[in-house]
Symmetry: C2
């Protein structure tokens, strides 16, 4: 898809653009950090997955593309810049609030909900329409409705890595006076970037109030997938990510033990990648120590996207599906509790009405 020459052009354009959009007095350092330090295992692992799908983590998949609204759909997946490092995990934040001369603009974190544009709220659409710049992971940018893309003054997207640098880019653009939206699928509060945005703002000596920081919620993957499966989650529910990139695996295991022994239904995010298939196996093993192998389990792959697939199976069968295509980083798995049953191809978790009412 992308050639070296395309890559170089994209990189050059991005640097130019970063400079002209942000106006930070150390724009060179900003450009360095926002684009070129990418290239590691930093993956968004966010709502509804879509990141780290291949688990390659190679620097050739990384980099940033910065395109005007008219060329976004042609934006190439560029390689990392000159100073890319192979060991990843080393993104540094550059400019501080003192490097910007203009009055700050606004920063809004917008949750797109599930893949299809009809899953967005009116408020999310309005927030994007009112933003001059839209910043996001390439896959999420591709989910945007055409009219949003066409109306945006500038769209900055990076593929498959670099959520720290991408978030910083959004913040720098806001501090430089632009109205900026940073986007993600699902909800900004579910394994997503609202927290990172606040942390980076703080590290720059800025405040959230300075950029009128706002979060526009979206439909999380657990809800998008639950709806496709019927009524699996109507009672107390927990969300757990199996990614140990930012949370140590012993903590994840301890959390799984704690909730599997209670009556929670469980939404599992980021269930599998080639780099850590053993986390998924361990998860299945823990769940089976507390729950019957016949416990219904719903699997939704790529909810709201072209390759969406849905399967209802049992806990006993789950681990064997780990190597199948239906389970990857775009998959959400919903594990029933001891009362969940399957009826008419749907999962049903009773809320308890049947104990109080006759029907």
């Amino acid at each position: 898809m992308s050639t070296d020459s395309e890559t170089e052009t994209a990189e050059t354009e991005r640097r130019t653009d970063t400079k002209s959009n942000c106006g930070a007095s150390n724009s060179e350092s900003t450009a360095d950090t926002s684009g070129s330090s990418c290239g590691g295992s930093a993956s968004t692992e966010a709502e509804a997955g879509a990141s780290e799908t291949a688990g390659t983590g190679s620097s050739s998949k990384c980099g940033a593309s910065n395109s005007s609204s008219n060329t976004t759909n042609e934006s190439s997946s560029s390689g990392c810049g000159a100073s890319s490092s192979d060991d990843g995990d080393e993104e540094e934040v550059g400019a501080t609030v003192d490097d910007f001369d203009s009055a700050p603009g606004r920063l809004v974190a917008v949750g797109l909900g599930p893949g299809e544009p009809t899953g967005m709220t009116s408020r999310a659409k309005r927030a994007l329409a009112e933003s001059e710049h839209i910043v996001g992971y390439t896959t999420y940018v591709e989910l945007l409705p055409d009219e949003i893309v066409e109306d945006a003054e500038d769209i900055y997207d990076t593929p498959m890595c670099g959520e720290v640098s991408r978030t910083e880019e959004a913040i720098d653009r806001a501090l430089a006076g632009n109205d900026v939206a940073i986007i993600g699928s699902g909800d900004p509060n579910v394994y997503a970037l609202s927290g990172l945005a606040l942390e980076i703002l703080e590290s720059k000596g800025a405040t959230a109030s300075m950029v009128d920081f706002e979060v526009v919620p979206g439909v999380p993957a657990a809800q998008s997938c639950g709806a496709r499966l019927g009524a699996p989650l109507v009672n107390d529910t927990v969300s757990i990510s199996l990614s140990d990139h930012l949370t140590p695996m012993p903590e994840i295991e301890s959390r799984l033990h704690a909730v599997a022994s209670e009556g929670f239904t469980i939404a599992i995010y980021n269930p599998w990648s080639r780099k850590r298939r053993e986390n998924f196996e361990k998860c299945c093993e823990i769940l089976l120590t507390h729950r019957d192998p016949d416990t219904p389990v719903g699997i939704v792959h790529a909810a709201g996207r072209e390759d969406e697939r849905t399967l209802i199976t049992t806990l006993g069968e789950l681990e064997a599906l780990g190597e199948e295509e239906i389970i990857d980083m775009t998959t959400t798995i919903l594990v029933g509790n001891e009362e969940t049953y399957v009826w008419d191809d749907r999962m049903v978790t009773p809320r308890g009405y049947e104990t109080k009412y006759e029907y």
Copy 2:
């Protein structure tokens, strides 16, 4: 607001209407159960609260109003019908699938998201626009955009009680050949009616496929409230309802112990009602046995509605707020984990990026 005479009229109209819309051969029995058995402690206790606010549970608040699209906004809160029972908890389902002669219509459970209409997804709006009948709790019907209300052929709403009879009414109307939407705030899979709809369909000898049963997800209260508070929930999170109407309190306590001792952030639904203030006290006590009194806690009352209020406090201060107006059944409480902090009037739960990146 409502007079006895208004009430009687509404009740008569409803019965007539139920008969004419459903065409069930035992429409009299349907009318009995869908309207007149209401009047007990059956409360929706659903997403974003709004039910059981006063905790009176008196039969005078119950009943159904059935209004044409032109008069919905004038619909009165009618009293219960003649056969209302004071002990509640006794709603029975009437007609079975064999009582309907027509080809079935469709049934869709639609999540409205937070209170404001801009929080709805395009898909939810389209589902409502395509439905001939809309069925819901009065407070939720009042949240609908005007154009939806004006376009609907019929709207059936019941105030403050009767989710079983209301859900059955929706199902009967669908089985009678109408395209019906049953609505709720938040998401149909979060303490809401998607499961009950499937259970009642089954009890009637119908199937979900027969009415093309579909769930349209919405933004849950945890996400609506999380967005208002900043980034309190970006890591593993659990939702727990403190209502022991359908779940025994010992189970709720056990679940609270299990998750409070792990690193989950906790979204507490249905935190308080006059009838069970001790559940809230017990919850605070359990959380304090596992977490520091300084743990940040966010409180959002009536998210997206006119009386919305937001407060960030600490776990140590939480119990004392139980008697304040900010905490009732329309409130969602978000409890931070041991890493959550407050910065610039926002809650921030780090995802762990700071352990891997420099910023």
